[in-house]
């Protein structure tokens, strides 16, 4: 599903490499916790997986597609079709309603539209919101929502049109402890229903126990953070 081989990445004008990963493999349907303290290259790795950054060396293979063989427009297209991304915070576009935020990926991805298989986007949003417990918030302004509610909206947006992979960048860091566990459980349930692969990145080791597999970026990344 996700396969990295001999990947090396260095930011332009930086003195040192940020990332050097000889091998990383994630199978379909896996729910992987990736631990990394700040500065260990978590965000860099996620952006490489999302095809926003391209490593100088090595191969990134997602769904059997080598990202380095695509041009930037094709990578954008690939990302919109196959990946759902959940941010740490500020996940939503403030001037759109909850429903409009969730529907947004469809306007960039024909593939996600196709996967709805003729179901109306609005009814699919309704279904997702129902599962996430935000059914009655759909017409609200996102600025009126609590942080926890906003993260659920972000999950709904990431999942609409069934992308194969969800990348989550510390989505629980602004939630309190009780809500964190509940949020992750809910995310698991939905990913399981849809057979979605989940890569969950966090610096908070206390969440590790919830996942079937846990990796530490400190072990994978051969570049040592100073």
């Amino acid at each position: 599903m996700i396969e990295l081989q001999g990947v090396e990445f260095q930011y332009p004008r930086a003195h040192l490499k940020t990332l050097e990963i000889s091998k990383l493999k994630i199978e379909k349907g896996e729910r992987v916790f990736l631990f990394g303290p700040s500065g260990s290259g978590k965000s860099t790795l996620l952006e490489i997986l999302a095809g926003v950054l391209v490593p100088q060396k090595g191969s990134v293979r997602i769904l059997n597609q080598k990202l380095e063989t695509l041009n930037s427009a094709q990578r954008d297209q690939f990302r919109s079709g196959h990946l759902g991304y959940i941010f740490q915070s500020f996940n939503l576009i403030p001037y759109l309603s909850v429903e409009e935020n969730i529907l947004l990926p469809l306007s960039f991805s024909p593939l996600r539209r196709e996967r709805l298989q003729g179901k109306s986007p609005v009814s699919e949003v309704e279904h997702l919101c129902h599962r996430l417990g935000i059914l009655n918030l759909r017409q609200r302004k996102v600025t009126e929502l609590s942080v926890g509610q906003q993260q659920r909206v972000a999950v709904a947006r990431a999942l609409l049109g069934n992308p194969e992979i969800i990348l989550a960048d510390e989505p629980t860091s602004s939630l309190d402890h009780d809500h964190r566990e509940k949020f992750i459980q809910l995310l698991f349930q939905i990913c399981e229903e849809k057979n979605t692969t989940l890569l969950f990145v966090s610096h908070d080791r206390s969440l590790e126990k919830l996942f079937s597999r846990s990796l530490s970026l400190l072990d994978i990344n051969q570049v040592r953070a100073l």
Partner: protein
Amino acid sequence: MTFLSLAFKSLRNRKFATSLTILSIALSTALLLSVERTKRAAEEGFTQAVSQTDLIIGARSGPVNLILFTVFNMGSPTANVSWQTYQKWKSNPAVEWTIPYSLGDGHRGFRVVGTDENFYQHYRFRGDRSVEFSEGHAALDLWEVVLGSEVAAKLQYKIGDPVVVAHGVTREVGIQKHDDKPFHVSGILKPTGTALDNSLYVSLQSIEAMHLDWHDGAAPSDDKHIHQSEIHKEDIKVDEITSFFMQTKSRIEILRLQREINTDKTEPLLAIIPGMTLAEIWRGLGYVDQALKAISWMVVAVGLMAMLIALLTGLNERRREIAILRSIGAGPKKITALLVLESTTLTLIGVSLGLLIELSGFYFLKGWLENNFGLYLVGAVFTSTDGLYLALTLMLGILIGLIPAWRASRLALKDGLSVRI
């Protein structure tokens, strides 16, 4: 959720900055168009200060001088036209009508024109506008005077008021006054927005009558003085006039008649075609119009700069938004397109609003502009020049919008999905 509505909702989210930007573009566009419209009105007003007159004829001087003192009350004639010569041209079979003008006297800074009934009947300006009375009637009797609207307003004269004409056009009080022969106001003209408003009109005979007892340009001594009541219009012989207006029976006669008058050996005269001379003078004044236009283009530039600043400052706050759009698959090109769409929308609305402001502004202020500035909005409401200016402003707006768009795509590439501000 289309791309267009995304751009629209983003703009709506920044209502305040957006409306200020639109307003600044609208106002600068309105100014640009207003300057153009005013220039058009001024040009039409100037070049049609006299119309339907084919030739203006005076003693030989220069065309500019001749038109300035006949039509604009400016400068003074150098010599006169004899009555016989005037009669000769007046009776020419090609001539439809003539209006004689006799100048040289004034009243408190305003010029007194000696003329005849043809002036009231045939004088035209701005196309087919004729001389009309707001009250009273033409000054055809010896001691009657008609006032231009401005004269009546400034001096607050009413029908029947006495008017003493001074020898020579002077400000305040004339050095030598014809105070032994006062006139009485017989009529007041409607405002015309031309130099007609600033003159007083009497009959040709009145001018002669005032000077009847004068000799060699000097006032009479008491023993030579002739009393007003002893003078009768029928007895007065007009010796000379200053100039005259002429309309020919057919347009094709104009050039032939002009040449004939200019080359006539009996008395050296100058005949000019007023429209041509007026257009020539206007072209000479073109730099004023150029300066105005330059200033309004600068205002347009400032308006567009305001948009540039608003978009650029807004950009920093929108880096999160851009990262989110990137995460769901919007490439830097789409981000660029989004911002270009925004600036284009802003400019388009701004320019349209500017046009609306200009059109409605002139529509509602028409009367006020005419009364207070003598600015008559003749001519087309919208011309191809206006269209060109609108298109140019729109194009400039789109071009300037490329700057924040380019910067947004740079930021999008730099930030990726994780914005650290």
